[in-house]
Amino acid sequence: MIEAWLTGFARGVAAAELRSTEACAFVRYLERYGEGVGRVVETREGEHSSLAVFDLQTGRPQNSAVEIETVERIGIEFPHDALGMPMVRPLRANFPVTGHQHLSLPDRPPAICIDERAWSEARLTWGPPDLLGYILNWFRRAAEGELHDTAQPIDPNLITSGVRILVPRRLLDRKDREPLIGLTKGDGGDLEIIGVEDVREGGVLGGMFSPLLVTVPPEAMTRLRFAPGTLSDLADFLAERGVDLPALLAEAFLAALDTSPLYRKPLVDGGLLVLVQMSITSGGATNVQTIAFLADRSLGQVAVDLGVAHACEPDPKNPELVNVVRAIGATPLKASVLAGARLLPCDVHLAMDRIAASRFAGTPAQDARRVVLVGAGAIGSHLATCLAREGRYLWTIIDPDVISPHNVARHVAGHTAVFRNKAEVLAEHLSDILDECDVATAIPYDVTSSDEGHDAIDAVLAEADLIIDATASLAAARYLSDHASSARRLSAFFNPAGTAVVVLAEPADRSVTLRDLEAQFLQNVARTASLEGHYGTESDRIAYSGGCGAVTSVFPQSRVAVLSGSAAIGIAQAAEREVGDIRVWSMSIGGAVDCHAYVPTVPTEVEIGGWTVSLDAIVLKRIVALRASALPDETGGVLTGMVDIPAKRLHVLHAASPPADSVHAPAGFVRGTDGVEAHLDRVRDRTMSQVRYLGEWHSHPDGSGTRPSAVDLEQLDWLSATLGMEELPGLMTIIGGYSITIAFGPHTATIPLPHGKTA
């Protein structure tokens, strides 16, 4: 075959005389510089291309993965038309079948695919050293076994008819063998395969095709090397792999006759499309590849060719009737009768489903955990879109609001969605991303409501694997934190100025709740330099309708997109780990983003007088240390933290050091005032009043226990009066050598220290 092919090129044409200037340049380069890599054997001239034949040093290592030789004879076909791609053809009859070879016509040597770029791109920087370098690189990869990548498509995308076929993976995988149908898609030149059950009532308009799915049993790396030009060629190829194509075609024809009249005609008279599904096995991994061929005739005509049907005249009164009838009792003839049925190779595109989405996003495995997203506003809609495009999660979206015109400024929805429910709009948007039926559902009610939608919401929260709060509402986040569901909670929200986004993630065991995370995040805002401006600046505000609450802030979509993307990363990563996370991304005016992460700690929680008091681990550690450093004297200071008055919850986040003017003694402590006001003002300002003064702490020396002394009780009265102004009980914390006592109005609770006396 190689010799026959070579005779199509005239011999004895000098290199300088070749019509292709690229061929001249390449031969000149090899002769002048490339002698150690390739030795020119001859140059030839063909009708459409110039041919340079040379012996290539392949660089083959001793243990090559494929049977290439140390020296291989190579012919490069340079088309006379410079826009045509040079084809690199090994000129050895038994050159091995590898990956990265073009699907070649049977009458010519195979061609190796040395460059994955489109030739229109590659030619811009093309030069002889590049061409030689790419060829060497192909042989290096072949020798190292890198071409045996099961992810590589069987048929390279460079030599097909250009017809694209969209195929949902689920149709290829399904077992029921319901008929498939092909419809034109896009501008009419491309096809889409659907199941007949998806054919709309009343049928479809436009051209229809009759797909036949053929599954080739798994085999080890026997790729299709030559594109079959006819149904007969394809039948031969399949016969070698144990598949009887004529029988399958006859069977498909009979099945098509038996289908519902709704799609009988397209299945019999529509163009035949053969989809070949092959499992390629290499190194223990199996990858299924699908290739497709469009025939120049219908399944009915093929059945006539095979002798299992007779053609009949079309009935003009009944255009719905098919134009062939079954030949009773006939068996299909040999495949050679199909030699006249020409095939057009097509590009198969698998539809974007969850598996594909995960693969393109590089996520380790498809993640179909059930996620309830509460809040379908700016951040919720963007982060759900990011995560759904990465193939993540089955979504239930809860939001009672409708889209207002001003929402469109930073939402995935557009103008036409105005006044529609946000949850429903987002669920539709997410469902449209993937070719899956279960991407998202909506519940258009308030998550905290006690009437409408309550049962449905409780049911989905109970069933959920993850609950993501994107409400930007403290009340909703706390409601979700306290809900009976055992699902892990996460929360994402922007700061008011739109310069930062925060992700809070509970650990998988929920030992730290969303409430605790919120408190610890705020404590970081109050204390750490990197978050100093988190609540510091406010953006301009704009009224969007009449009411005085109807204001929104200036917050451009570009920032929403970046920060929501960061939040999506944070949520996805946190959801893949067991530990909890507090993470803040802050963006500069110029667009640079900083990320700060804080490790959540498990607080100590006590019930006192109908209140729940949480003491952060860091507070405990700090007062133990401050006490030890002051011994034998007492010491103390002010406490700050968060309150939730309706929920009767109090979270102590910080114990300040003693002011400089305090008086310390072994039997008493008088807390000074130096700097106290400034400290409390700063904490309040930095946290938008969310962290506040809560009470006092002081230490008792060794041997004194932690019961409030007479002096302490007096102070407690004072505290109760002071904090009572704000409907809060006075909080006093006494630290001793072995325990901590929390006095809360008239109530006390004592917590033993974990390791007894801590110095």
């Binding site: 002698e35 150690g36 083959r60 001793q62 050293p129 590049d130």
Partner: protein, 376 residues
């Protein structure tokens, strides 16, 4: 980066340069024999090649200079290229420093040496005196009287001696350099008599092993030894459970493809030299599949030519023997590659898949990176 070996077209003369996995260079023999006055001389400018290799490897000196024996075709011109410590006042700051000089005991024992061979001897003696930067391939004791006579007491310098049957200290398969050098020859027993020295039998013969990933590639560097010496090496290694030290993936042929390194009879006409039972085992049984044989020699003569009748190697019958081996063997000749008209250095790399030719498509960037263009 996998280690590489580069061979140079030097006629019937030797120089193989290893670049180790840690980028250091080890030079095995160095015969810069090209005549710069003669522009028809096709042999390469070895000094320039070595400097270029150092530059590409980012190295200022060579880690090892091994002179396998002190014939001129193995050490010609070393005084011009390398900085020799024994002549500190000699001008030539630009010469290349040598961390370790490796020589056989014969290089110490021989007397009446001239030219470059004398330089090698003086440098080895100087370094031995200093107690560093040299390895003498011998057992120390047979050299004791000879060295004492020259004022060198070897006590305290025994670590500078490397005996056959061991690996050269300082190189490990598991460290960054990823290589080791097993010494086959010279045998210490051979130099007891200093009055007559057969240089080739007292040559350094090594098995160099290079590890890349899970693969060890073995290179046999056979200096100029004869079939008798090779037979001894095979016999001793087999007797000492060191048969695996005879295995090779790449062989530098001994003595420029001489029949005497295969067997006693050259063979007539188009015949192949017949090996002895021991050299047959070495060249055939201990050879890996798809192995490489490199003849550091002039082109293999055509039948009937004057060169074909010459007693000097290369011998066509010896080449016939090596070429006929099958199992994917490659046979390359330094003065024939890529062409007799324009021989160039060539290299192999020691990859995780074994020995592979090191190839690159020559391009302008690589060219400019290897040259020092000047403008006036």
């Amino acid at each position: 980066m996998p280690a590489t070996i580069t061979f140079h077209p030097l006629g019937n003369a030797d120089c193989a340069v290893f670049q180790l996995a840690d980028a250091r260079l080890a030079v095995f023999d160095f015969a810069d024999v090209r005549n710069p006055e003669d522009n028809t001389d096709r042999r390469c400018d070895l000094d320039a090649e070595l400097r270029s290799a150092l530059r590409r490897a980012g190295q200022g000196r060579v880690a090892v200079l091994c002179i396998t024996h002190i014939d001129d075709d193995h050490c010609h011109g070393i005084g011009d290229t390398f900085r020799l410590d024994h002549r500190a006042s000699y001008p030539g700051e630009n010469r290349i420093g040598v961390d370790e000089l490796w020589v056989p005991a014969a290089a110490i024992l021989e007397t009446g040496l001239k030219d470059d061979a004398a330089l090698v001897q003086r440098e080895a003696m100087h370094r031995l005196r200093q107690g560093r930067g040299v390895r003498i391939f011998s057992r120390p004791d047979p050299l004791r009287p000879h060295l004492l006579g020259r004022g060198i007491n070897i006590d305290g310098k025994r670590h500078l001696f490397v005996d056959a049957g061991t690996c050269v200290p300082g190189f490990s398969l598991d460290e960054a350099e990823g290589c080791e050098f097993f010494v086959h020859s010279p045998f210490a027993s051979k130099q007891t008599d200093g009055s007559y020295i057969d240089r080739n039998a007292n040559s350094i013969v090594l098995q160099a092993v290079f590890r890349e990933g899970a693969r060890d590639s073995r290179v046999l560097l056979a200096s100029d030894v004869t079939h008798e010496a090779l037979g001894d090496i095979v016999g001793i290694s087999e007797a000492n459970n060191n048969a695996h030290r005879l295995e090779w993936d790449l062989l530098k042929l001994p003595h420029h493809c001489s029949y005497l390194s295969i067997g006693p009879e050259r063979g007539a006409g188009d015949k192949a030299t017949v090996p002895t039972s021991k050299t047959k085992r070495l060249f055939e049984n201990y050879r890996a599949d798809n192995a490489v044989i490199v003849s550091t020699s002039k082109p293999i003569p055509e039948a009937g030519t004057k060169e074909d009748r010459d007693v000097q190697p290369p011998h066509r019958q010896a080449a016939n023997y090596h070429r006929s081996q099958g199992r994917g063997v490659s046979f390359r000749v330094t003065m024939e590659d890529p062409s007799v008209a324009r021989p160039k250095p060539f290299a192999y790399k020691f990859t995780a898949l074994g020995v592979a030719p090191a190839l690159a498509a020559p391009d302008a960037a690589a060219r400019t990176a290897r040259s020092n263009p000047r403008a006036g």
